[in-house]
């Protein structure tokens, strides 16, 4: 089983930009996903019908304020929802399998080998009492059956692949001896150890310095280029989206309000919420003081009727308070969940 390093990376048959691969094959396709948190005396729906797809090699951004349900959606995909959370509807298709039908054993076989995830706080994501090498060896043993010398060689390759200099030294280090950027690279190496088809990145750069953020983004882009790695990147930062993503879905209060290619979102945002987010960002960049959209993300247990954004929306009309808008196509590849997108587009 001794193979040269490069061949272990998923070979790229189609060197074209992903998303261009319009054969219709989907790596991931989430449809109508509903998740609720059940407590003894109440139950709260945190995801109310989320649709999201990712084609091979595509990097999809999911943007929203904290509390919008982005992370819950990602955890639902890998089957790691907290114990109080239950999937109450919808499907999560990974290639041709509905992940929601799998039992925990089958799901575990997929996690870390075909779907991996990286997290916001890279240093806290690594066990403080284990070295990087110890973690890599365990993951390689579980998913690839590698041990001993072979595992060491493979681990070093993986660390080198994510741009960590001197892999053998890094393997001996404990998480607290790594910088945030190094820890995130190590986490990525762990996540990629068995060449997954899909990487879920939950705020991968939020906890890092600006320069390090940029490096991690470059790394994620390189992974796509080199091994056609499909990625779903959860972030609240439109800068990350602009640099990294092909397509973006805007989430609010457990639902997707708008979805479009990245260029389109910046040129012609359709939903008032998206516009608000983008102009808030613009204002921050002009450093004219931090002002975001007035109001707050609603508490999910007191979700407003109708469009959940209407209490904060300056364009809200009676219909918005009564009926929940569905995502509809406003242009090719662009859909908006707003009753008034047509009027607002003018």
């Amino acid at each position: 089983m001794e193979e040269p390093a490069t061949s272990m990376l998923r070979s790229v048959n189609d060197p074209l930009r992903p998303g261009v691969n319009s054969s219709g094959e989907r790596v991931l396709s989430i449809e109508g996903l509903r998740v609720e948190f059940r407590l003894p005396d109440e139950s709260t729906e945190v995801l109310c019908g989320v649709d999201l797809t990712a084609r091979p090699g595509e990097i999809v951004g999911v943007v929203g304020e904290s509390g919008s349900g982005k992370t819950v959606a990602a955890l639902a995909v890998v089957g790691l929802l907290p114990s109080a959370a239950h999937v109450s509807g919808g499907s999560v298709r990974f290639f041709n399998e509905n992940l929601l039908d799998l039992d925990s054993r089958q799901m575990r076989a997929i996690r870390g080998s075909r779907i991996s995830m990286i997290f916001q706080n890279p240093r806290a994501s690594l066990n403080p009492v284990f070295t990087v090498g110890r973690m890599l060896r365990e993951v390689l043993l579980v998913h690839s059956g590698l041990r001993g010398r072979k595992a060491t060689v493979r681990a070093q390759e993986l660390l080198a692949d994510v741009g960590l200099p001197d892999p053998s030294a890094v393997m001996r280090r404990y998480p607290h001896q790594l910088s945030g950027g190094m820890a995130q690279r190590a986490m990525i190496a762990l996540a990629l150890s068995s060449s997954p088809d899909l990487l879920l990145a939950d705020e991968p750069t939020t906890a890092l310095d600006v320069t390090i953020q940029h490096q991690i983004i470059q790394l994620l882009l390189r992974l796509r280029k080199r091994q056609n790695l499909t990625q779903i990147v959860i972030t609240h930062n439109f800068g990350v989206v602009a640099e990294l993503c092909d397509r973006v879905a805007v989430m609010y209060a457990g639902a997707i309000l708008e979805e479009a290619p990245v260029g389109r979102i910046f040129e012609a945002p359709g939903h008032p919420y998206t516009r608000g987010l983008l102009s808030a960002r613009a204002r921050v960049e002009q450093s004219s003081g931090i002002r975001s959209i007035p109001g707050q993300v609603p508490e999910l247990k007191n979700r407003p009727t109708g469009c959940s954004f209407h209490p904060r929306c300056e364009h809200a009309r009676d219909i918005c308070r009564v009926s929940t808008p569905r995502l509809e196509s406003s242009a090719p590849n662009h859909s908006i969940a707003c009753h008034r997108w047509r009027e607002l587009a003018q």
Binding site: V78, L80, R108, A109, I110, R111, G112, S113, S116, M117, F119, N121, A124, S125, L126, N127, P128, V129, F130, T131, E138, V139, V142, H143, Y174, H176, Q177, M187, L190, A191, S193
Partner: protein, 335 residues
């Protein structure tokens, strides 16, 4: 490492000095004139004066303290009023029985409490969690000496499963040849099965009673730190990597939960040092606890003083050991 240990030992010196001040004060200053304890009340004034002079009791108090410290550093804790032996010899000869009892009690407590704590953390909110909580509540609420008595009533008087309190071994059976001083080990090593049987029978009840008391805090800390570890970011990340649940619980989480557990074991051992005084008294166990009980009953102050200093030193050294274990087990602790 050696430098670290040396520094920690240096830090112990002021604490141990403070401890000697306390023991000295307790036994020399408060009970009034120690000479009353050393001499028969019928002795003449001259005899009293001579003995006081010889014992240095007429010197200023700080000279007496320095003399005491000087003696302690030489291992001279004074002579027992009762046995007339050097207190240190008395203590040393009674250390092993107490060590054997507390060691087995602690091992038993750990063997029961850690799995229980892990189970309670993994299956939180289920019956096993409630059982462990209930056990913890009862375990710390019941006086050990009372549990000892109830155990004797049930297992000796009612069921005849275990012998009546008889010390470490039945009086009918000669103790095993001394190798380590622990009867269990010595009878095993010498193949003395008769002694081993009697030793285990004698040890079972007092060790189990102490273990029952020690279990509760150990199970609680195991549960709490396992829950913290299982809910941590690194556990979620380990799960996202598809590692098997057994590895996540027993390697990733437990390895982190062990650190607070070690501290708790040391704290509980201090508690056992107190409990053993009561339990040895009930079970006629010829250890330090019984010795100090007799010392108190007969106002044998040098013996009491020696015991307190001795057990406090053991306790303080135990925490030194904990610190060293932390260095070995937690990579975040820097030397």
């Amino acid at each position: 490492m050696a430098a670290f240990v040396a520094r920690r030992i240096l830090l112990l010196i002021p604490v141990l000095l403070g401890v000697t001040v306390v023991t000295f004060t307790l036994t020399r200053v408060i009970p009034g004139n120690p000479i009353d304890l050393m001499v028969s009340p019928l002795a003449s004034e001259e005899t009293r004066e001579r003995i006081a002079e010889n014992a240095g009791l007429n010197d200023p108090i700080w000279i007496q303290y320095l003399r005491y410290i000087e003696g302690v550093t030489r291992g001279d804790f004074g002579d027992s009023f009762v046995t007339n032996q050097p207190v240190l010899d008395d203590l040393t000869s009674r250390f092993m029985p107490t060590f054997e009892l507390t060691l087995f009690a602690m091992l038993l407590a750990i063997a029961l409490a850690v799995p229980l704590g892990i189970a309670a953390a993994v299956w939180r909110g289920t019956w096993i969690d409630h059982v462990s909580r209930l056990l913890a509540v009862f375990g710390v609420a019941m006086p050990v000496f009372w549990v000892s008595l109830v155990a004797i009533y049930v297992f000796f008087f009612l069921l005849h499963w275990l012998p009546a309190p008889q010390g470490r071994i039945s009086v009918m059976i000669p103790p095993p040849d001394r190798i380590s001083g622990l009867y269990t080990i010595d009878s095993l090593l010498t193949g003395n099965w008769q002694a081993l049987k009697s030793t285990v029978q004698s040890l079972l009840m007092p060790a189990a009673v102490l273990a029952f008391a020690a279990m509760a805090p150990l199970a609680r800390i195991t549960r709490a730190s396992m829950i913290e570890a299982l809910e941590s970011d690194y556990t979620r990340a380990a799960r996202s990597l598809g590692l098997p649940e057994s590895s996540i619980v027993f390697r990733h989480a437990l390895r982190n939960a062990i650190l607070p557990l070690i501290t708790m074991i040391a704290i509980v051992y201090g508690y056992l040092l107190g409990g053993v005084v009561l339990v040895e008294n009930v079970f006629a166990w010829p250890g330090l606890g019984r010795y100090v009980y007799n010392a108190i009953a007969s106002s044998d102050y040098p013996a009491l003083q020696g015991f307190i200093l001795y057990s406090t030193t053991v306790y303080v050294l135990l925490f030194l050991l904990v610190d060293i274990l932390y260095v070995l087990l937690d990579p975040r602790v820097r030397l």
